[in-house]
């Protein structure tokens, strides 16, 4: 035990204790299907098989992982893409029978020597975007799935009634059972199943179980997240981590799955059977020490988690407030990290997988729920993380306790806090402009700052309210935009420009108006505007280290590829750059944290026995990244128009926004667009907005051009067959799909660069048709 920590037996969380008649609940289970399998050891990080379950027919079977699959797709998200490709059709949608929910692990997943090694990657066709969404998540499920014998689980079809799926690595048995009496909301069902299925009535046994669930909110919205449990022996409850983005929980409930449970017999530091455990221990120990010695002087993740970003974002005008109209706010200090630090339970290690010294998974224990079905109960709230706090500021709600309430209910209802918060912030702005009103919102006064109204919206969603507003609002910004436009309730430009979605997915919580590279980091992505592909705001806007389109394109090539790599291996991104070696500033490229990149090279080689270098890591990602884009093309959505972003993310939409940062924008007109100060003085604000509007949209098109070119895609954003072949893909079906798409684009005149280039400027390739 580390200095200052509380012994397990001395900690009492103070939470309300739930009592259920678990025997009665279990007696109602009917077994639909069972499958016994032979238990095998993991070999150099791989279980070498995946698990396929079809709920329509009760089929359970194993699929072999081939060496070719490892070579082309590495693991994790890559395996998920391969499995989806083999199972869905080009017209598969989120609720199609053949759509799959896939949970994958990755060869490094489950390692306990290196911090941040317990992530699962989940994939499906998203209800929000109609394309593949991928989401990473902590908790014990991924490692346990692998140690139970599988690199991934793939679930197709829909059950007729509510079921649970049990992957029992202790007995070597998989079963599908009906589950009529279990609770649906996650903090309840994860407790029920953990108690019900633990081999002995003790914490050690309970810790060998992990549950995936999604609550009533996931069932009744497109914002469903998956909750992954990890049993906390101090608090004596399963805690929850979320695969938040893209509606994975919605798909889980559409399949009538109440929960997926996995259980292991045992695991330890060598369960992955690494090829070179000495090197693995050496690399891991080095990073453990670094985190222990440096974190408190750097990001302070061990004390406050990602919430440390709130004050930084506010100070640099990047914290979204009032639906991204502004980047800072006088009341924002109420949500600064010290206010959450006061509430967090301290001196308890808070890793979401064993061996994560970064331990950023903070909690507030014995929080008294203030509204809704659990009002008055004392619960543990997992989080909040920065994004959830950012939702508070985006809706102009400045109360940390309210943020905890919002956090708790979104989690247990299985609602993604980001999509929920960003959507409601947009509805609030529309309310302010009279485009929405109390009547159109089913009687809810949804104005900025109305904390009660927000909770009412989410309680109504979770209760299955069938009112017109709740039914549409719960499907997210894109559907609400269409509804407002269809009813002719407001200016189309305002509606389109203010609603912060791209591809149908809501933005996460950063203001990007002054960082073109970050606009690309949100728009030129595979699944939609989530910052996990690239986070370039400071590099671009403050450090000014990527000033040209070429520089930005290089960053928008390298960082998405690098960050993709974590998801191929079952790793958390945070230990890569949320702590940095003290000599990092003196290295050639501090933004890449070269020493940590080398750690990952050594780490992957140590587990798998391969002999790769840092270039090969990027290549592993490039294969997966291009394959996913190519699949999006196949699904009908992987081209330039799908990468467009709302103008609110590029610049000021309204006069009020312009006036609030007048000096900045006037200077921009002068320095970037070349309008004289005298002329600017005489111009109307509306005129100035229009000029910046046109200029910045053109900048985004030029950025897209440069990025597509760097990635080896056509001017319409399609990966070329040549690029795919260079990456090692020979699948004739995929190569034909891409070739046909490029021919169709050529005929439609879409293979042209999007930026308007003057005589002094060049488009990326000077007209050579490399596609």
């Amino acid at each position: 035990m580390l200095e200052g920590q509380i012994p397990i037996e001395d900690y009492e969380s103070g939470n309300t204790k739930n009592k259920w008649n678990l025997n009665k609940i279990k007696l109602e289970h009917k077994t639909i299907s069972e499958y016994n399998y032979i238990k095998k050891d993991i070999q150099k990080g791989y279980a070498n098989r995946t698990l396929y379950i079809n709920l329509n027919e009760g089929i359970i079977k194993e699929k072999k992982v081939t060496e070719d699959m490892k070579k082309l797709f590495t693991g994790g998200r890559g395996f998920g893409l391969k499995l989806l490709w083999d199972s869905i059709k080009s017209n598969t949608r989120w609720n199609s029978n053949e759509n799959e929910l896939i949970i994958t692990t990755g060869p490094l997943c489950g390692t306990t020597q290196y911090p941040g090694s317990g992530k699962s990657l989940c994939l499906t066709i998203s209800p929000s975007t109609d394309i593949i969404c991928d989401s990473n998540v902590g908790g014990f499920f991924g490692p346990y799935l692998k140690f139970a014998g599988f690199d991934a689980v793939e679930i197709q079809g829909k059950a007729k009634e509510d079921v649970i799926i049990i992957i029992d690595g202790e007995k070597g048995k998989i079963s599908i059972e009906t589950a009529p009496l279990e609770e649906t909301n996650s903090h309840m069902i994860s407790q029920q199943l953990t108690q019900m299925y633990s081999s002995e009535d003790d914490d050690k046994s309970r810790q060998k179980i992990s549950i995936v669930s999604a609550g009533m909110g996931a069932e009744n919205s497109y914002w469903g997240c998956l909750n992954f449990s990890f049993y906390d022996i101090r608090r004596k409850i399963p805690r929850l981590k979320q695969a938040g983005r893209g509606g994975l929980g919605t798909v889980l409930r559409d399949k009538k799955i109440k929960a997926i449970l996995t259980k292991v017999e045992k695991f330890d530091g060598v369960s992955n059977n690494p090829a070179d455990s000495v090197t693995l221990a050496k690399v891991g120990t080095k990073l453990h020490r670094e985190i222990r010695d440096l974190d408190r002087y750097q990001c302070n993740m061990r004390a406050v988690g990602t919430v440390h970003l709130v004050e930084i974002m506010d100070e640099y005008d990047l914290l979204p407030t009032e639906n991204y109209r502004f980047g800072s706010f006088p009341k924002a200090s109420k949500l600064y990290s010290q206010n959450f630090y006061k509430l967090f339970t301290k001196i308890i290690p808070d890793g979401c997988w064993h061996g994560c010294t970064m331990a950023c998974a903070k909690t507030v224990d014995h929080f008294t729920v203030m509204t809704g079905p659990y009002k008055g109960e004392k619960v543990t709230v997992d989080g909040p993380e920065y994004e959830t706090v950012g939702c508070g500021s985006n809706m102009s709600i400045w109360d940390p306790l309210w943020v905890l309430e919002f956090n708790f209910y979104c989690d247990t209802y299985g609602l993604d806090t980001i999509s929920t918060g960003t959507s409601i912030a947009f509805y609030m702005e529309m309310y302010e402009y009279g485009i929405l009103n109390k009547k159109r919102c089913d009687g809810i006064e949804l104005c900025f700052g109305n904390a009660e109204a927000v909770l009412e919206v989410i309680h109504r969603i979770a209760s299955g309210d069938k009112g017109e507003f709740i039914s549409i609002a719960s499907k997210g910004i894109r559907r609400v935009k269409d509804w407002l436009i269809k009813n002719n309730w407001g200016d189309i430009g305002i509606i389109e420009d203010c609603g912060m979605e791209s591809k149908g997915l809501e933005y996460s919580e950063y203001v990007t108006k002054e960082s073109l590279a970050m606009q690309g980091g949100y728009g030129l992505t595979l699944k939609g505007p989530q910052h996990d592909e690239a986070w370039l705001i400071f590099m671009d806007m403050v450090n000014n280290s990527i000033p040209t389109f070429k520089d930005k394109a290089e960053a928008l090539h390298y960082f998405p590829m690098w960050r993709t790599w974590f998801g191929l291996n079952g790793l958390c991104k945070l230990p890569w750059n949320d702590v940095e070696p003290s000599n990092n500033p003196k290295t050639d490229d501090p933004s890449k944290v070269p020493e940590h990149v080398q750690n990952y090279v050594d780490y992957q080689n140590a587990v798998t026995g391969w002999n790769v270098d840092k270039e090969e890591l990027i290549l592993q990602s490039e294969r997966c990244y291009n394959w996913q884009r190519a699949m999006n093309v196949w699904l009908g959505r992987g081209s330039r128009k799908d990468d467009w972003i709302p103008y609110r993310s590029m610049g000021p939409v309204t006069v009020m926004e312009y006036i609030s940062r007048r000096e900045r924008y006037d200077k921009y007109l002068n320095e970037k667009i070349g309008i004289s100060e005298g002329k600017i003085e005489k111009m109307k604000i509306e005129e100035k907005i229009k000029i910046i509007y046109d200029y910045r949209q053109d900048q985004y098109q030029k950025l897209s051009d440069a990025v597509y070119y760097r990635r080896g895609w056509t001017p319409n954003g399609v990966p070329t067959p040549n690029k795919m072949k260079k990456l090692g893909f020979t699948d004739p079906k995929m190569l034909k799909i891409l070739k046909d798409k490029i021919i169709t684009d050529e005929k439609a005149g879409l293979n042209i660069w999007g930026g308007k280039y003057n005589n002094k400027e060049k488009n990326p390739n000077d007209g050579i048709k490399y596609w």
């Binding site: 750097q298 970003l309 986070w535 705001i537 400071f538 000014n544 280290s545 940095e580 501090p590």
Partner: protein, 66 residues
């Protein structure tokens, strides 16, 4: 009488220390690496190191975000 900070020209102020420059630029983030004409300035010298005219300053924010 100008200096360049992160590629942007601003006025040079006589006797301005690194600490004061950071304040003027509203660079409140504590984890920054400062280079004057490509030479790293030690954090312990921020208060005493004076910015020369015509110099090129890099203020690299060591923030990783999201």
């Amino acid at each position: 009488m100008t200096i360049e900070v992160n590629g942007r020209k601003i006025d040079w102020i006589e006797n301005e220390s690194v600490t004061k420059l950071l304040k003027r630029m509203k660079y409140t983030f504590p984890l920054v690496v400062v280079k004057i004409n490509d030479k790293i300035v030690l954090r312990s010298d921020f208060k005493i190191k004076v910015i020369p005219d015509n110099s090129n300053i890099d203020v690299i924010h060591m923030i990783s975000g999201g």
